[in-house]
Symmetry: C2
Amino acid sequence: MKYLIVGGVAGGATTAARLRRIDEQAEIIMFERGEYISYANCGLPYYIGGTISERENLFVQTPESFGKRFNMEVRTQHEVVAIDRAAKAVKVKKVATGEEYTETYDKLVLSPGAEPVKPPLPGINSEGIYTLRNVPDTDVIKAYIEEHDVQHATVVGAGFIGLEMAENLHDLGVRVTIVEMAEQVMTPLDYSMATLVHQHLKTQNVEFYLNTAVSSFSKKDGERLNVHLNTTRTIETDLVILSIGVRPESKLAKEAGLEIGDTHGIVVNEYLQTSDPDIYALGDAIEYENPIIGKKMITYLAGPANKQGRIVANNLVRGNEHVYKGAINTAIAKVFKLTVASTGVSGKLLGEHNIPHIDSITHSSSHAGYYPGAEPMSIKISFDPKDGRLLGAQIVGYKGVDKRIDLFAEAVRNRYTVYDLTEIEHAYAPPYSSAKDPVNIAGFVAENILNGTTRTIWWRDLVAGKADDYFVVDVRTKDEAELGGIEGSLNIPLDDIRERLTEIPRDKKVVLYCGVGLRAHVGCRILMQHGYEQVYNLSGGLKTYEHAIQ
Amino acid sequence: MKYLIVGGVAGGATTAARLRRIDEQAEIIMFERGEYISYANCGLPYYIGGTISERENLFVQTPESFGKRFNMEVRTQHEVVAIDRAAKAVKVKKVATGEEYTETYDKLVLSPGAEPVKPPLPGINSEGIYTLRNVPDTDVIKAYIEEHDVQHATVVGAGFIGLEMAENLHDLGVRVTIVEMAEQVMTPLDYSMATLVHQHLKTQNVEFYLNTAVSSFSKKDGERLNVHLNTTRTIETDLVILSIGVRPESKLAKEAGLEIGDTHGIVVNEYLQTSDPDIYALGDAIEYENPIIGKKMITYLAGPANKQGRIVANNLVRGNEHVYKGAINTAIAKVFKLTVASTGVSGKLLGEHNIPHIDSITHSSSHAGYYPGAEPMSIKISFDPKDGRLLGAQIVGYKGVDKRIDLFAEAVRNRYTVYDLTEIEHAYAPPYSSAKDPVNIAGFVAENILNGTTRTIWWRDLVAGKADDYFVVDVRTKDEAELGGIEGSLNIPLDDIRERLTEIPRDKKVVLYCGVGLRAHVGCRILMQHGYEQVYNLSGGLKTYEHAIQ
Ligand SMILES: Cc1cc2nc3c(=O)[nH]c(=O)nc-3n(C[C@H](O)[C@H](O)[C@H](O)COP(=O)(O)OP(=O)(O)OC[C@H]3O[C@@H](n4cnc5c(N)ncnc54)[C@H](O)[C@@H]3O)c2cc1C
Ligand SMILES: Cc1cc2nc3c(=O)[nH]c(=O)nc-3n(C[C@H](O)[C@H](O)[C@H](O)COP(=O)(O)OP(=O)(O)OC[C@H]3O[C@@H](n4cnc5c(N)ncnc54)[C@H](O)[C@@H]3O)c2cc1C
Ligand SMILES: CC(C)(COP(=O)(O)OP(=O)(O)OC[C@H]1O[C@@H](n2cnc3c(N)ncnc32)[C@H](O)[C@@H]1OP(=O)(O)O)[C@@H](O)C(=O)NCCC(=O)NCCS
Ligand SMILES: CC(C)(COP(=O)(O)OP(=O)(O)OC[C@H]1O[C@@H](n2cnc3c(N)ncnc32)[C@H](O)[C@@H]1OP(=O)(O)O)[C@@H](O)C(=O)NCCC(=O)NCCS
């Protein structure tokens, strides 16, 4: 059996290694257009920023070591430029010489990845404007910073990679401005969660413009780069990182007549087989049905690419035995001191797909408050109003965000309901958690909403004049209330509420709020059982409200 | 409706709070024998050690604040001494005066907890010998340390609490000796994992005696305490912490004629209702069927007690609607710089119950090795040889142990197989994980064992003369091998193995090992596919072997 693999990094190298482990006799050739294989794409921003100090740490394997260990040919700087499916052969171009040759295959694997989007804006090819995908890109950016007096950088696009780059440039002492077309950073988050990130960026002295697009770039010899915004503002800068998104490298597949989807990703079946049964594809270049919304999507993540690699190898050698179940886009990023993570589908995206859902926000601590070093985290979950099935979760916080997002991811993947969240049995000792873990609390609160034990409203319901529809009660202590709260609200501390019921009208919608929602929950239950018929808890309390409206 | 609750801490206070939230009209009285309610039992060792500096931080609620917020009577220093089930009344003794009175109930809840075992050893009541359960115990120990010149302490029993106390006393500058009857610390761990803890204790200069029991204590006035061991050794010490276990406080229930199990725990049904339908019980005092081995066990953990509290309240108010599914004993402890965690059932306990299982050890990093600060973790899982169902997991490491144990706990609870572990979709960015998470790796390795892709042997198979049955090959590099390995093994670096097959006999059982098992896996696959019929990977590699045999 002769296997050819296109792409030598996350998907390609993993497929190749597993292939060899389960088929010692096969002939395997791995083609990589670039000079390097098996490198840590995800580490590139940190190498630029100096957190990863040794360049060689970026390489898990070299072409030589990999070829030797797995007894295969690794042809770097060989680009596969065409596939002749009828002849079962590929045309390969040697990058250095331009020389071309063909190589036949029994089975072909495509893991060509994705390329950064570079819009055709005037001036986009000026010196000092870069995208970041691979090691050469990294080397160029790092050299540019070392060789020029980079005082200020502009990051265009505030996705995960853009923010990682902002942080790493900041770490180098460079002032950073972020320009983002959307009303928020990090589009997998809902607005109310993204505002926590906005707040943090401010504390880090990172300038950012939302709802703002770049219209052109210009640079005169010897002068600084100008980034012209659609707001008429111009930013003078020394370096631009373009991180406005990526798109699948599906051109080769398309030209070979393989089926390509609306997303421009390569279409594969549940065995990761393309429309040609002798060709498998994986990684950033394929589209796959999202298990929650049922729509084909592309997952630009290394974890899924690695897992798919193993599945492709299994299916190639053992016959199509291993079904790929799809990814739910579980992602995480360090954004300066924050950790930001999401899994499943955001409220926003559910809305766009007209999928009914209820959202709920809770704020918890990374571990028991009485043990030193606990840090706050905010959790938003979205669930199905019929059966409580969890559809997505987002967390912004510090320590311990990573572990809760992994639990939520399992919950989403396994079609847990919010009732199931209440039963998650976490490991508890004071340095690690609380007797009720934040995921349990998120479950309790959602369960209460779902079975009518409580009703919630959303910060949006209270803004822009709508507040008049509600009688708003602040159930925090007098001292807390004096430091400020929602305008026009009446302060009745929770512990006094039973004695002060007469101050709360029975013919109006009553909203209770406290810092995060816990005391208001207790208050809501008291009012509801004293005959109040329209009582609401403000989801996420004052904390969410204040971040969202600023 | 009139509810009486016995016990005002984890189970009792949680039940009471939820009861009030869902039944504003009920009469609720909570009895607590001690002076305090709602305190952080789990924080007590850390308050003694000074990590928690403020005593008031131990209290989540005071009797006054709790009573006011939840509009109930909190009677501290009132001990319930008898239950008259026919009359539906309890007899209560005021601790301060000895005065007794009765109080009737519609429904009674028992959450009396567990008491430390204090064996009737000679001298056990000498001054300076303490157990730790509650705030007064804590105050006594702390005062003793402040008022005496405690240079050395002896911790008897090396369970989670014993080791936490060892750490905290050590933090105070006290030299600590641990005495443990078993061959290892922390019995929920298997021996091979406990040895990692032993190793760590040595690096922390904590002395410990295994396989050793205390036979008596003695103390002459003005002299130090003597702890006499069954090995004829005597330890001179200034303070003894007895932490050899706890037992359920089921005396009250037993005397009332409620059904008590073989474990001495109170018997409850799936609604947490005792053999008397008007009496519910929860927490450390009940026994419940372990979902994995089907045997009744007691779970001495705060997370389950808290969750049960909410279930009991739901069932009391809403009728028996909420089924308790049992706990799988997911636990974690900080042991000096280590984090030690377990969930489900250990290999040892599975063995004792004659439950067939396969064990597998893997060693991973807390996050991508190329990003600074990655720390090692060792994982042991046990699974069913028939269908691969995960039965238990243990982890010893540093950062990131807590999040992996939570994932394994979900896997055990939800009857995942090891195949399912390979599909867990974790959040990956370099500071948090690797593209293949340690739980995925544990799954890959187990899957390979289960479906015959590889065979493993255990460190025990290689010790005590048995090594002669095997031809042992060290596949690490020459440099690594020169630093020492398994005696009598032949070094053939993995990358040379294909060329040196002739050196490996075909008529013997061949064992391959490397540092942790990864390279040996690749090597095993090469040999197996070159016609070798009996090839084994040493589970956990040299790392597990070396720790286990020392
Ligand atoms: C800066 C950066 C940070 C990231 N951070 C994270 C993160 O924190 N977490 C996360 O999960 N993911 C992260 N990712 C995404 C992750 O790296 C990708 O999802 C993953 O690498 C995809 O694997 P792949 O095999 O599909 O593509 P790649 O790993 O990109 O490999 C594709 C390879 O194919 C080669 N190739 C393409 N066409 C041809 C051809 N015709 N002939 C020969 N070779 C060809 C390319 O040169 C490339 O080397 C990050 C990506 C980048 C760029
Ligand atoms: C030092 C220590 C550290 C711990 N660390 C952890 C940890 O890290 N993680 C973890 O999960 N668990 C830990 N635990 C265990 C956890 O605290 C218990 O599992 C949990 O508190 C059990 O709840 P409970 O309601 O059953 O009992 P408790 O919380 O102990 O409450 C029982 C209460 O009932 C009272 N009572 C008993 N009988 C009567 C009566 N007849 N009348 C009136 N009152 C009565 C007692 O005085 C006691 O206050 C620790 C325990 C201790 C002691
Ligand atoms: C590393 C790389 C070359 C592929 O290697 P790989 O051999 O599949 O992956 P690993 O080194 O993690 O090894 C995993 C294998 O070792 C086995 N293994 C791991 N630890 C083991 C242990 N302790 N004992 C036995 N086997 C073990 C696993 O079972 C698995 O083998 P299998 O697939 O046959 O079941 C490829 O993943 C790569 O190039 N990665 C870097 C690029 C990348 O992923 N970039 C994006 C992220 S930054
Ligand atoms: C704290 C204690 C008194 C019980 O209190 P509790 O009110 O049940 O628990 P919490 O304070 O965590 O609050 C949980 C409740 O608030 C709700 N809640 C929490 N955060 C919320 C938010 N942001 N919005 C709305 N509701 C919220 C939850 O839904 C839950 O209410 P429910 O049970 O009606 O669904 C009791 O657990 C206790 O005494 N604990 C200390 C003792 C102990 O556990 N020791 C062992 C561990 S060290």
